[in-house]
């Protein structure tokens, strides 16, 4: 279980508070207006943004001051998820080792690529992949990292609606097999609904506790309603 206890983030004139818990293997969409702090919240959990107060714990272990790589977290960023000078297989293998991959590593990488539907793409450079395929490769690396918490910071924002829905279904399926918890930032209520699970609304300097997506979208609270209204 992921727990944010009295978390306070302060960056210049921006402030965000969070006091919430995410149950194991949950699917959580993080929604809210631009600039409200959705990415900042994920950055704090991932170790890229320092807290001004409070603590973050995962399964009872305090991770507040850990280095990003030492946290039980795999992050998929909005872009630049792959080093463009390394092959797809090498990029995925970096989730396991920084050395030249050995036979066992190569087998795990091939298996992960197969799970995300990139069978046979291992020797390609990222530049030769489509946006959706790059997202799949990033997902394959999250998979081999063997971390219980996946943070997705709008990685599919540049994809069309149909492809985005397929990618979210893929994330859900792959994460289910890995037993991972998923937090995904999104702008689109359709994405939140597709992910199922729950929604954390970030607005007015506050990240609210997760509530079931279906119910929240059917009867949105004022902050979310204001954001969703066109």
């Amino acid at each position: 279980m992921l727990a944010l206890e009295n978390v306070v983030i302060r960056l210049d004139d921006f402030g965000l508070r969070a006091d919430l818990a995410v149950p194991p293997q949950a699917r959580v969409a993080v929604m809210g207006p631009s600039g409200a702090g959705k990415s900042t919240l994920l950055g704090a959990i991932g170790g890229f943004v320092l807290l001004s107060g409070g603590r973050i714990a995962f399964d009872g272990q305090d991770i507040t001051t850990l280095h990003p790589a030492a946290r039980p977290v795999a992050t998929i960023f909005q872009d630049n998820n792959l080093f463009p000078h390394l092959t797809v297989a090498r990029n995925v293998a970096l989730g396991i080792t920084h050395r030249r991959p050995d036979t066992a590593t190569r087998a795990r990488v091939a298996d992960a690529l197969m799970q995300v539907g990139l069978d046979g793409f291992g020797d390609r450079l990222p530049g030769s992949l489509s946006g959706g395929q790059q997202g799949r490769a990033a997902l394959a690396r999250a998979l081999v990292r063997d971390k219980p918490l996946w943070l997705l910071d709008e990685p599919f924002a540049a994809l069309g609606p149909g492809l985005r829905a397929r990618m979210i279904a893929l994330v859900d399926a792959v994460a289910a097999r890995a037993g991972a918890t998923v937090l995904m930032v999104t702008h689109d209520p359709t994405d939140a609904a597709a992910l199922g699970g729950e929604i954390v609304v970030v607005a007015n300097g506050m990240a609210a506790a997760p509530r079931p997506a279906a119910r929240l979208l059917a009867d949105p609270p004022p902050a979310l309603a204001a954001y969703l209204r066109r």
């Binding site: 170790g47 280095h67 990003p68 790589a69 630049n80 463009p84 000078h85 390394l86 920084h98």
Partner: protein
């Protein structure tokens, strides 16, 4: 987040410290050794006057001629334009002494111009003396000025010219409303850069100047060394040179200097206010002729003489290659950590400033200081090549940092979070992220350093004797002995080595760069 010790950052700070010690230490040595008792002689005052006079004149002529050429290049599209713009960058890596020999072949006593002139009954013109020095400086700095001004021109949004077209502005109104403001912004900075370059000119003055009317301060330092062996006077003159450089650099701080390494000059701005093509064509043609003719003359004369080069020329060439390799390795090993430290530390600009300090002191001033420090300990001739490599590396370092720095910043901004999340630190981060992303600028910086060092005729002239002379110095001695055929052969060899080193290293950085 745990703060880990980062070896590259530490190394970068150390490099900045070493460069500072090198520059400050040599200046201190010069200051201590300077013989102020005798004061400045009339000939020294003449040297100061000539240094300033030729630098001002070279700046005015270079920039004045560059404006129409840059304007023509900015608004015309023609076959070979890209090649010409690339060639305008070549003088930067062209060995000075090679270009001087090329100019001699065209403008010298037995050169093409005089041959044509005497055919028409005109009196011969001489390239030796003050005007020869200015001519050579314009040859080197006209292309630089054209590139700087062209950059300013191409920075104008094309919408502005479209707006001018839609308002029906004619050529004169377009010039006044759009182009004149650009020139006002860029011309003072460009002129100041040329002025700065010319105040520390040594090789040109060595080859074409001399005597009471055409001796620069740097040449006077060399003469105090070589002819009088008066270290006290050389040191005093070095202090004078330092004062001139620092004064000029302080002046430069008040003017926004354009970036000298900028790229992307092959863009073309569409214009609607153009009439006849031929005036622009003539401007571009004359500039190209002025720049290409000396090199063509040199190559025509030198290639047949390549085979006749004797052992001493080939040995000098080998020394030059080794020195250039040493300078290149030194520069890369220094520039990479500095560029990384610059990006990671809050006071990165201080690190950059210290590491670039050599640019504030001229090579000959640093060389004089090193000579004073080394002379009591070892025979300077033995140290000629290491000292030359060291000074070349220190002089190339600022350019290398400028080439690498932005790419380091971009790499960290784009891929830093990903690398952090994967725990890529230390050697793994260097091997898997930084080096692969830096291939191109590293190759470019290496090529630049190798070419600059290969063609350098500066410090080596103070230190070397016949056993340790480099190819540029050997070439200078051949010219001094009027062995022009051998000199032309050696010059072609030096030209090939310099441009070849740049091409090979720059190219090496582009191979395998991936997406």
């Amino acid at each position: 987040m745990a703060v880990r010790p980062r070896p590259l950052t530490v190394a970068g700070v150390a490099v900045a410290g070493i460069v500072f010690l090198l520059v400050a230490g040599t200046i201190a040595a010069v200051a201590v050794r300077a013989d102020g008792g005798a004061g400045l002689r009339p000939s020294d005052l003449a040297a100061i006057r000539f240094t300033l006079w030729q630098a001002v004149l070279s700046a005015i002529l270079s920039v004045g001629l560059a404006v129409p050429v840059a304007r023509a290049l900015a608004r015309r599209r023609f076959a070979g334009r890209r090649l010409l713009v690339t060639l305008l960058g070549a003088p930067f890596i062209l060995p000075v002494i090679v270009a001087v020999l090329g100019l001699l072949m065209v403008f010298g006593r037995g050169g093409w111009i005089n041959a044509a002139g005497t055919g028409m009954g005109l009196p011969p013109v001489s390239i030796y003396g003050p005007w020869g020095v200015v001519l050579a400086h314009v040859f080197f700095n006209l292309p630089l000025a054209v590139r700087l001004i062209l950059q300013g021109w191409l920075a104008v949004p094309s919408e502005r010219f479209r707006l001018a077209a839609s308002l029906g502005l004619g050529p004169w109104a377009t010039f006044r409303l759009i182009e004149l403001p650009i020139l006002r912004g860029i011309v003072p900075g460009a002129a100041l850069i040329v002025f700065l370059v010319c105040t520390t000119s040594f090789a040109v003055a060595l080859a074409l100047g001399g005597g009471p009317r055409a001796t620069t301060i740097e040449l006077a330092i060399y003469q105090a060394f070589r002819f009088d062996f008066d270290l006290g006077r050389a040191a005093l003159l070095a202090l004078v040179q330092l004062a001139v450089t620092v004064a000029a650099a302080t002046l430069a701080l008040t003017v926004a200097l354009p970036d000298t390494l900028g790229g992307g000059l092959d863009r073309h701005v569409a214009r609607w206010d153009l009439a006849r093509r031929w005036p622009d064509g003539i401007r571009i043609g004359l500039a190209a002729l002025f720049l290409l003719l000396p090199l063509a003359a040199l190559i025509l004369r030198g290639v047949p003489n390549l085979a006749g080069l004797d052992t001493s020329a080939w040995l000098a060439a080998m020394r030059s290659v080794v020195t250039a390799m040493g300078a290149t390795v030194l520069t890369l090993c220094a520039a990479l950590p500095v560029a990384v430290a610059m990006q990671r530390l809050r006071w990165g600009r201080v690190v950059e400033g210290l590491a670039s300090l050599a640019i504030a002191a001229s090579p000959l001033v640093v060389g004089t200081g090193l000579f004073i420090l080394i002379f009591p300990l070892v025979d300077p001739a033995l140290m000629a090549l290491p000292v030359t490599a060291l000074v070349n590396a220190a002089m190339a370092l600022p350019f290398a940092i400028r080439a690498i720095g932005p790419q380091v910043a971009q790499t960290e901004a784009r891929y830093g979070p990903l690398a952090d999340s994967l725990g890529l630190t230390g050697a793994a981060r260097l091997r898997l992220l930084i080096l692969p992303r830096l291939c191109r600028p590293l190759g470019f910086a290496a090529g630049l350093t190798a070419a600059l060092s290969m063609g350098d005729l500066g410090v080596v002239a103070l230190f070397a004797d016949g056993r340790s002379e480099t190819l540029p110095l050997h070439l200078y001695r051949l010219m001094g002995a009027y062995r022009m055929d051998d000199a032309a052969g050696a010059a072609v060899l030096l030209l090939a080595l310099s441009l070849g080193a740049f091409w090979a290293l720059d190219r090496g950085g582009r191979v395998d760069a991936g997406a």
